[in-house]
């Protein structure tokens, strides 16, 4: 019996959108206010959905404590109260958009999950904007 389980977490971080290969004018046109070099911040909400068979002995898809610990170690410790462009290595060379955050968080979590399989990473930048990544190529 396949069951999907979602765990939420919140973190706050700042970012700035800037591609050094674009001219200053292009950066302003494409990224708008998000191009402010000093950055700006969001309260992000992260939803991690895993799927798996329910273990008949424990009744669990995954031990929630373990999932919470992995999310804290791999994501919150690295990103909470950080400037993503300057403190998270993946964003030294990629723009820290909501789309890329979802992909990077997937890449951090997927290898650490043992019992359950990662199904979806959803990142809310604000309540009216979120990105989903399902590990698709």
């Amino acid at each position: 019996m396949m069951v999907y389980l979602t765990r939420k977490a919140e973190f706050s971080a700042s970012h700035s959108y800037h591609n050094p290969e674009f001219t200053p004018e292009e950066n302003r046109r494409i990224f708008g206010m998000c191009n402010n070099p000093n950055g700006h911040g969001h309260n992000y909400t992260l939803e991690v959905t895993v799927k798996g068979e329910v273990d008949p002995r424990s009744g669990f898809v995954v031990d929630l404590k373990q999932l919470k610990d992995i999310m804290h170690r791999e994501v919150l410790d690295a990103m909470d109260h950080r400037f993503l462009n300057k403190e998270v290595p993946e964003f030294f060379s990629q723009i820290p958009t909501t789309e890329n955050l979802a992909i990077v968080i997937w890449q951090r979590l997927a290898p650490k999950l043992k019992a359950a399989q990662l199904h979806r990473v959803r990142v809310y930048e604000t309540p009216d904007l979120f990105a989903d990544f399902y590990g698709e190529a």
């Binding site: 999907y4 674009f22 723009i95 904007l129 979120f130 989903d132 990544f133 698709e136």
Partner: protein
């Protein structure tokens, strides 16, 4: 890598659920309070989900400015603070949220060129919502 981006918008409109093909008592039985001849309104919450590869130079599936501009021009300006029953889109159909969801899907599907449309989700109230993905399967 394919990523799915969802943006949420709010608009308010009125409607009356009434079918010309039903006699009055069947209309009342089918639509209940929603058949009130004077209509009533909702604050709708619309979620538009688009997908595509993340463009490496921008980190984006599509520029939100383009999506917001399209939805504002083609959806919000058309439906916000309107009576749905008198609009041409509902000349021949009942403005249920199911039908409104499909109408909005078709408008985005036909007109938005910057990313692939996955689905449209529409909340009529906090307690009910509708999703339409055309002929595609909904991603869970």
């Amino acid at each position: 890598m394919k990523t799915h981006l969802t943006r949420r918008y709010i608009f308010s409109a009125s409607h009356r659920l009434h079918s010309e093909e039903m006699p009055p008592d069947e209309n009342r039985a089918t639509y209940g309070k929603c058949n009130n001849p004077h209509g009533h309104g909702h604050n709708y919450a619309l979620e538009v989900t688009v997908s595509g590869p993340v463009e490496p130079s921008t980190g984006m599936v599509c520029n939100l400015v383009d999506l917001d501009g399209f939805v504002r021009r083609e959806i919000i300006e058309k439906f916000d603070l309107q009576n749905l029953n008198v609009l041409p889109e509902f000349a021949r159909s009942v403005p249920t949220t199911e039908n409104l969801c499909a109408v909005i899907y078709d408008i985005v599907q036909r007109g938005f060129r910057h990313a692939h449309l996955d689905k449209v989700r529409l909340e009529e109230t906090m307690m009910n919502s509708f999703e339409y993905a055309g002929d595609s399967e909904l991603l869970r």
